[in-house]
């Protein structure tokens, strides 16, 4: 096996806890929650009124999802690229793979066009089209192209070639990393910029997830809402954030004397054909996905000593994930530490796989496992060591990070501390 070893030489992260890896790590290891009451938009009539919003980033109230996603990605990418010291500012020597939130024209824009149309009672699409054609809204046209976030990130950081925007729902961030790993292993490039970003906490997104009964409605207090693996878990908490990794071949990183922060040892994938939003009850696809990642890393299940789970806090995900972990790890499943970052930062959706990879790498670096907070009522059907409520020092050499999404998307990554 003479494929290139893929290492991480820079990471950056923004979540509701704060900007920057160090600030996030301090709060994560202290068991703090970033979940709060939503203030950016009106929540009148909504069952869920909390989210992991990034309120410390000043934004105009009319901000839209691609705009905020771009801003968060820029912050995290600045941090990651500066840390890696790769290239020169505005000239990143490799391609961009970026997981982005869904892109759709939002109510603000739709209503603005309607006002400009001057139509009164009988508003019709021909009115909107006429106003749309005025030329006043060219900025919205560009902003709501599916490639617009990637385009602007690519231009700002000077990545090479055609930037790839992608979505595998809640596995997107992990897919971005997987695509970067594959490109380096093919020998196409010596470096890749991999980003997961999501700034899509707005009323309509919240309502859509709410209508699927996916969200926690434990609004009070917000910090206690996300309770992965607990018996009383009642859904996930939407959140914003971005995670960025600078990936390089080991050879290229060594050649330029870069500090190696960790290794992406293996990637695994297996799609589920069972249902649009539910996992196969036998867990076969997620079991296969985890096994594929461990095998791709050239490891055995016994080598994994910490799991960063998908752990969304939905009744279904956490149970299914337990079944899969139990199948792969057997008796050891009960004793491997497994802790959900989502208990503190919520579910950063398209960013989650990337954000949680950054935290997995920091777990390896600090030899300290952040807790699963809000674990007051253990679920007897999920007998796992969830590192309840308080961080723990531990020897961690290989981390498994899971990301599972709607549409049968499953991606697992295995990360290690040192190149082997």
């Amino acid at each position: 096996m003479n494929r290139p070893v893929v290492v991480v030489t820079g990471y950056g992260v923004v979540t509701s806890l704060g900007a920057g890896a160090q600030d996030n790590w301090a709060k994560l290891s202290a068991g703090q929650s970033g979940i709060r009451e939503i203030t950016r938009f009106a929540t009148d009539g909504l069952k869920t009124r909390i989210a992991g919003t990034v309120d410390f980033v000043p934004v105009e109230p009319s901000i839209n999802a691609p705009e905020l996603s771009q801003r968060l990605a820029e912050m995290a990418a600045e941090e990651a690229i500066a840390q890696s010291g790769i290239g020169t500012p505005g000239d990143f020597p490799g391609p961009l793979f970026i997981a982005v939130a869904p892109v759709e024209i939002e109510w603000q824009q739709r209503c603005e066009v309607a006002r400009a149309s001057g139509a009164n009672d009988a508003l019709g699409y021909p009115d909107l089209m006429r106003a749309g054609e005025s030329g006043r809204f060219h900025g919205y046209y560009e902003r709501f192209l599916f490639g617009s976030v990637a385009d602007r990130i690519a231009e700002r950081f000077g990545t090479k070639g055609s930037p790839i925007s992608l979505s595998t729902a809640c596995a997107s961030g992990a897919t971005a990393i997987q695509l970067g790993v594959e490109a380096i292993r093919r020998g196409e490039t010596e470096a890749a910029l991999c980003i997961g970003t999501d700034g899509s906490v707005n009323a309509e997104s919240l309502i859509r997830f709410s209508l699927l009964s996916a969200l926690s409605t434990s609004n009070d207090p917000p910090q206690a809402a996300s309770k992965p693996f607990s018996k009383n878990r009642d859904g996930f908490v939407m959140a914003e954030g971005a995670g960025v990794l600078v990936l390089e071949s080991l050879e290229a990183a060594k050649a330029r004397g870069a500090k190696i922060l960790g290794v992406i040892e293996g990637c695994g994938e297996l799609a589920d054909s069972f249902h649009r939003t539910r996992s196969s009850p036998d867990g076969k696809p997620t079991i296969g996905c985890i096994r594929n990642a461990i095998a791709d890393a050239g490891l055995a299940p016994d080598d994994i000593d910490y799991i960063n789970p998908h752990g969304t806090s939905t009744p279904e995900n956490d149970k299914n994930e337990y079944i899969s972990i139990a199948a792969v790890f057997g008796e050891r499943a009960k004793s491997i530490p497994i802790s959900s970052n989502k208990s503190m930062i919520g579910h950063t959706l398209s960013a989650a796989g990337a954000v949680e990879s950054v935290f997995s790498l920091m777990t390896l670096e600090h030899q300290r496992i952040p807790p699963t907070i809000n674990y007051q009522l253990p679920d007897p059907a999920i007998p796992l060591d969830v590192v309840p409520n308080v961080a723990r020092d531990a020897r961690v050499t290989h981390v498994l990070s899971n990301s599972f999404g709607f549409g049968g998307q499953n991606v697992s990554l295995v990360m290690g501390r040192e190149p082997r």
């Binding site: 892109v103 919205y140 192209l145 990637a150 055609s162 925007s165 196409e188 069972f274 549409g407």
Partner: protein
Amino acid sequence: MSDARESWITGIGLVSCLGEGPDAHLRALNEDAPRVDSTAFAPYVVHRIVPLDFDKQIPKKGDQRQMEPWQRIGTYAAGLALDSAGLKGKTDLLSRTDMIVAAGGGERDAQVDLNVTAGVAKAKNPEAFVNERLMNDLRPTLFLAQLSNLLAGNISIVHGVTGSSRTFMGEESAGVDAVRIAHARIAAGQSNLALVGGAYNAERWEVMLHFAMGRCLSHDAHKSVWERAGMELGTIGAFLVLEEKGHAERRGATPFARIATVVADHARRSSGAVTATLERLWSGIAPRLDVAHAAVISGASGVQPATAEERDFLASRGLAVRATATHLGHGLEPQFPANIALAAAALRTGRLFAPCDASERPMEAVLRQAVVTSIGHWRGEGLALIETVS
């Protein structure tokens, strides 16, 4: 090239206003005038898809109900591609098939959008009004038609493709990169079998409004791509099965053609940028070109100045050119896979199809190579070289 593993195209699924399947498409391109609808979305011209019998590829009505048109069209086209490659129902092969879908977003409920927008103007508390209406009027399952990755999800469910599943977004570039990455993975030994493509439903007001804001739609009467100033949107579903040569040979699959090269770039668009990028990308494939037996299948959209730059660049190469959006309309994400499908189908017959407008010249020589172009209407440039398997 000699040591790289070859990617063969062993399956094609193609649906559009020209019909269903590669043969129907070649027949229509050779014999028929463009089929357009100038009334449904007047003053815009739309290339509406022919009626499809979805039961043939999506047998469960329950599955059909869970999808909106773009997903039905894409799932249908994916099924045709799997049929064409002889993979349908072969669980073992499907569970090792790697899927890359190029997708935008799904349908919104145009009527709900209109009603809510009209109501907001009169609402005392506009934000609360929108919340209330959406909580009551949105169908829960509509969300699943709007998520970009749910075309791939539906293909997994209906056809059992589960090896891997990635969805690329980003207009025309998504289609180029989907084919490029699938091809690169096969060449590098990361994959043996891939399903690649996408679907686009042009028959929607919300996408019309989006492009109207960019003033990139052609108005009034139908015109050919080279005469348009803007896009005539077209509904298209296009999927390809790419397969490593040895893998195809071992299971006795016959290729339409092989993909020799796929290259892409992302120019900052300014005057001359498209020409410069095309020159650079073209220089990568030029040494392999057998000019006497090669033609260009152009993905030009009609949006200016990109289309004029591409026209002038291609004129300087001296090959016969076919801008297929004259007939198909422009379908963004699946346009490049659709054009590769048309190139592969034509290569298998050894004949280029008829000119798409009066400015294009006939080609008499045997067709052995086709260069497929994709100059995104806003961003993204790509080329593929498709060849006869001899």
